[in-house]
């Protein structure tokens, strides 16, 4: 039997307990709890203070604040009317167009980078796409207004002329506004802006697919596309929806770029080539000169936007939960 008479010199001092032991452990857990609660507290604070400042207009207008399409701060007679339906419509339409155009492109790029691209190309492609994310949004707005919108008018006019005889399509692709600043142009710019985010997150998610699943698909005789739909997508579905939600959040909240190219008109129309306005754009356009109830109405728009984002995120989580249960079994 040997007794240890000499203390062995510890190789990692941190593990001898000199850094706090149980106390340090408790401190660490309290600190992480505090930071987590801090985030929740900030969120709650923002919601409560904005709702409080917007309360006068909610009292005045009630539910008509979100159902009325008239936004008239200085009417010829009577009281000001603040109905945000036109702006909710503009936000939804431009974000929807951004998703319809941007998401297939982003997932396509992500799939290409993870499945099909030669390894050498991967690094430089990732770098280029991240550079797209680094461009400030106001630069997108300026480019859209000075270059894209005037060019697009001709394309819109051509599309309108081509689908004119088709009954459903000719209302969606109606007469384009002369300046080119419309829901469609805003949607296009937003699509370009969300591509980097959605691509990089999708890429991360797609690369976590277990190689075993992919090999199994190939072993069963699947083609590459069948492997992707059979092994990659079901595994990554939750993550892809998460990426799309992040892109949607950016598209809905984008202010400067949209305010420059969406046309500044209070308008509800199925025609995507017409001008409109979005909630964030209206706030930045009209905040400077607003007073009293008008300011409360603009803050109210912010509250509505916040509420919409929360609802959409909750709905997305529900969709992901259901899909994951279906695909991977209830155990997950």
């Amino acid at each position: 039997m040997t007794t240890r008479t000499t203390q062995e010199k510890p190789t990692r001092p941190a593990l001898t307990g000199k850094s706090g032991g149980v106390r340090g452990e408790r401190l660490f857990s309290w600190w992480t709890l505090a930071t987590g609660l801090l985030v929740l507290a900030i969120l709650a604070l923002i919601l409560i203070t904005t709702a409080k400042q917007a309360w006068p207009v909610f009292q005045d207008m009630g539910l008509r604040f979100v159902t009325s399409s008239i936004w008239d701060p200085n009417p010829a007679s009577g009281n000001p009317v603040f109905g945000s339906l036109a702006f909710i419509y503009g936000t939804v339409v431009s974000s929807l167009i951004a998703l319809l155009i941007g998401v297939p492109i982003s997932i396509g790029i992500a799939l290409f980078l993870t499945e099909l691209a030669p390894r050498r190309l991967r690094g430089s492609a990732i770098m280029v796409i991240d550079m797209l994310a680094a461009i400030p949004s106001v630069v997108f707005g300026l480019w859209g207004v000075l270059v894209l919108a005037p060019l697009l008018v001709h394309i819109y006019q051509w599309i309108h002329d081509v689908v004119a005889p088709v009954p459903g399509l000719n209302t969606i692709f109606g007469e384009p506004i002369g300046t080119g600043r419309s829901f469609m142009t805003a949607g296009l710019i937003l699509a370009i802006m969300i591509i980097p985010i959605v691509t990089s997150i999708s890429r991360e998610v797609l690369s976590t697919t277990p190689q075993a699943n992919k090999d199994a698909a190939f072993a069963l005789g699947a083609t590459q596309w069948e492997m992707i739909t059979g092994a990659v997508f079901p595994h990554s579905f939750g993550g892809l929806v998460g990426a799309v939600m992040l892109g949607l959040g950016r598209a809905m909240g984008e202010t400067i770029a949209v305010s420059l190219v969406i046309g500044g008109a209070t308008n509800i129309t199925p025609n995507v080539f017409a001008g409109g306005n979005s909630m964030a754009a209206v706030i930045v356009q009209q905040f400077g000169e607003s007073t009293g109830t008008f300011t409360a109405a603009l803050i109210g728009l912010g509250v509505v936007l916040f509420a919409m984002t929360v609802v959409i995120n909750l709905a997305a989580r529900l969709v992901v939960r259901r899909a994951e249960i279906r695909v991977q079994g209830a155990a997950t």
Partner: protein, 355 residues
């Protein structure tokens, strides 16, 4: 290497902070010495102002000219818009404010605590872009219907009636207006309410509910850009920016029935034809007079009735400069200077500023 880099960064940061601190210290604590020196070269101090963007081009020119006369005085004017300018003035953040519109109860400026000083006037043009049409005349009712999107094509009979003998193409009209709150919109819509009361239904204000087929843009320059880029566009732009962007201007029928094109002479005629109230606000919109350009907008400075001794002298000297040596500068930037009667009244207004 990490520690070295960190200490270098800290050093750079401290150096920058010190530089920034030094830069803003000159004349910051209101240490103004003001002799009653008509020359102005003994004056020193700082004046902060903000407000309307309409006269901004003029005020910046006057500030540079004043700097040559009184090099130790720093005057800053931020064109944040009449509404924000009045708010900041009411909160005591600025020494004086620029505004195109009069002070209303919820603007944040207590009644009786300020005086109006008119400075210049400027025409608001109706600019358009229509290929093949160099001259356009519009009456107030036609104008109202165009901006309410009731008239949608350029060859509409109402426009043709105002322009006998001019061949108008069938181009659709694109109406451009301001998407931000603006004193220019306020004056333009006030004009339409006064001149076309039966046709104009949208009221007046810094923001109005424009019809859905129209386009909005930020600031006068944004509207000017829409007009320049789009064939068939029409919009309201202040005279100074319209000339800068080289837009084609329409002649408007004034109260006396004459079609007058926007010009500085037309603006001065409108100011002369306007009634001046006791507090020196006046309304040159739709003024009487054969040569008056009917869409002329006034602009004022708001001064407090009471400043502390040093500041009062500085403010008075600066505003006196604007009203005397600064008036000829207006023409260089396409604003109309005040007629001599109104100028004298404005100078007398300075006596109401106490110290």
């Amino acid at each position: 290497m990490n520690r070295k880099m960190l200490s270098r960064l800290v050093l750079v940061g401290v150096a920058l902070a010190v530089l920034a601190g030094c830069g803003s210290n000159s004349g910051d604590n209101g240490g103004t010495s003001g002799g009653d020196n008509a020359n102005g070269s003994n004056l020193s101090g700082e004046l902060k102002a903000s407000g309307a963007s309409f006269p901004d081009a003029y005020y910046q020119e006057v500030i540079s000219a004043f700097k040559e006369k009184a090099p130790d005085v720093t005057v800053t004017y931020n064109a944040v818009g009449s509404g924000t300018g009045k708010k900041e003035f009411g909160q005591g953040l600025t020494d004086f404010a620029g505004t195109d519109s009069t002070v209303k109860p919820d603007d944040g400026v207590p009644a009786g605590s300020f005086v109006y000083v008119p400075t210049v006037a400027g025409p608001i043009t109706v600019s358009y872009n229509l290929s093949g049409v160099d001259k356009l005349q519009l009456s107030p009712d036609t104008l109202a219907d165009i901006f309410q999107a009731k008239i949608t094509k350029w060859n509409d009979p109402a426009i043709a009636k105002d322009n006998q003998g001019v061949s108008l193409p069938a181009t659709p009209i694109t109406v451009a207006h301001r998407s931000d709150g603006s004193g220019t919109t306020n004056n333009f819509t006030k004009y339409l309410t006064a001149a076309a009361p039966s046709s104009w239904k949208l009221g007046s204000g810094d923001t109005v509910a424009w019809p859905s087929g129209t386009q909005g843009a930020e600031k006068n320059t944004g509207v000017a850009q829409i007009i320049k880029q789009t064939d068939g566009a029409v919009g309201y732009v202040d005279y100074s920016d319209a000339l800068e962007t080289k837009l084609t201007l329409a002649a408007i029928k004034n109260k006396d029935g004459q079609f007058v094109a926007p010009s500085l002479e037309g603006a001065t005629a409108a100011v002369e034809g306007a009634t001046v109230k006791d507090d020196l606000t006046y309304d040159p919109l739709n003024a009487a007079g054969a040569d008056a350009y009917p869409i002329t907008a006034p602009t004022y400075l708001l001064l407090k009735t009471k400043y502390d001794a040093d500041k009062a002298n500085l403010v008075k000297e600066y505003v006196r400069y604007v009203l005397t040596d600064g008036q000829p500068i207006a023409k260089d930037v396409n604003f109309a200077s005040l007629p001599s009667g109104l100028q004298q009244k404005a100078l007398a207004q300075l006596d109401k500023v106490q110290s």
